[in-house]
């Protein structure tokens, strides 16, 4: 799909600028140009596609769907799936949470949504395809959705409602099934496109700098770190590598945009992919800023249980990735 781009970046770096394809700087620059353009093309395609989905299924509609229908256990899967397709902004997580509670949606189902939402988002998916390819992206997405479902079911079973903050408990008790019909604008597709493009552009603009920095660091490392460099330190049989990577990753707050290109180089230079994926999930899925925001609706204990359950699930999935690959 991107052969033409490889051709152009080779031409530019090795022929026009005249750097040798054996030199570090040449390899790094070539990698940088190729990856940057490729990732921005993918970013535009994916944010646009996700924008179309969101234009037809805004969050209010999803909430009403989960609130009104009896889904016989499938609600966890739906919530996790919806979490994957809605764009995530950490500053929206609290209104989202309260909105779900208001609609009488069980806490576990809300958690399923809350886990998947940051984990799988348009920016992460686009950069994932660009750096790791379709296969790894699919595995990441599917396991992210499963992770949301499993964490949601476990957290639901724990009956943690009593650990919500007082004002949220009140909202919880007053909750009722959403009956007000969500008014959807009957805009034809062609009229929606400009709005979708403006939104997509806004998202791309807000992550562009992180993407470029991430790729630049990745490109630098790519050219200078020898092949298989990390293998001597962290191999598949280093059993403690996964828990260590995950626990290191949880408090970290990095834009998915910046971290994925760097992780890709780690994988290319010998760190097992399962270890890297679980590190990624920990960095993107859980973070200290998110915990601070959630403090408004949850007691510290509830946040600790929430983060604990998700952390354990990520660690387990890390071992499974390493078994699979």
């Amino acid at each position: 799909m991107f052969d033409w781009l490889k051709y152009i970046s080779d031409l530019l770096i090795f022929n026009l600028i005249g750097l040798s394809d054996q030199s570090h700087i040449g390899a790094a620059l070539n990698f940088f140009i190729y990856d940057t353009i490729k990732i921005f093309i993918l970013l535009f395609i994916i944010t646009f596609l996700m924008g179309i989905v969101n234009s037809y299924f805004p969050i209010e509609r999803i909430r009403n769907f989960l609130s009104r229908n009896k889904l016989y256990g499938m609600e966890y899967l739906f919530a996790s799936l919806f979490g994957a397709v809605t764009p995530f902004c950490s500053c929206s997580s609290v209104p989202l949470f309260i909105g779900f509670v208001k609609g009488g949606i069980p806490l576990g189902v809300t958690f399923a949504f809350l886990v998947t939402s940051p984990l799988i988002n348009e920016v992460a998916v686009a950069i994932f395809i660009g750096t790791f390819g379709i296969k790894v992206t699919l595995i990441y997405v599917i396991s992210g959705i499963l992770l949301g479902v499993i964490s949601g079911v476990i957290l639901g079973k724990l009956k943690l409602e009593y650990l919500l903050t007082d004002w949220v408990k009140k909202v919880w008790l007053d909750a009722e099934k959403e009956n007000d019909k969500f008014r959807t604008e009957k805009l034809p597709f062609i009229k929606r496109v400009p709005y979708i493009i403006i939104d997509a552009w806004g998202i791309i603009k807000s992550v562009a700098l992180y993407v470029v920095i991430g790729i630049a660091i990745g490109a630098g490392m790519h050219g200078y770190i020898p092949q298989g460099f990390f293998e001597q330190y962290i191999g598949k049989d280093t059993w403690y590598a996964i828990p260590m990577a995950v626990i290191l990753g949880v408090p970290m707050y990095a834009n998915a945009a910046g971290i994925i290109p760097v992780i890709q180089v780690f994988v290319a230079k010998g760190i097992p992919i399962g270890t890297s994926l679980s590190f990624m999930m920990a960095v993107v899925g859980l973070s200290v800023p998110e915990a601070i925001l959630l403090k408004k609706v949850m007691t510290g204990k509830l946040i600790a249980v929430f983060f604990g359950v998700v952390t354990v699930c990520i660690i387990i999935s890390g071992y499974m990735f390493n078994l699979l690959f």
Binding site: C89, C91, S92, V94, P95, K102, V171, D199, K296
Partner: protein
């Protein structure tokens, strides 16, 4: 006229505030703009995505930064 911007301080909320203020000044509309950052008050508007735009206690948009002409239309209708 009373205009409220609901948001906890994300970049989108700030941009919406600037935009609304600009539209009000440019069209010399008589309105005061309040920024609501308290989560409980924000949630009383049944909003699920910030930023929210409230004109005379009626929510006109949430989760998006509307176009200037839309903002002007809502301000004139209110």
């Amino acid at each position: 006229m009373n205009v409220k911007i609901l948001g906890t301080g994300c970049p989108k909320c700030k941009r919406l505030e600037e935009k609304v203020k600009a539209v009000i000044i440019m069209n010399s509309i008589d309105a005061n703009v309040d920024k609501v950052t308290d989560m409980e008050e924000i949630m009383s508007y049944n909003i699920m995505r910030t930023p929210g735009l409230v004109i005379n206690d009626k929510m006109v948009s949430s989760g998006v930064i509307p176009k200037d002409e839309d903002i002007l239309k809502w301000l004139k209708e209110a």
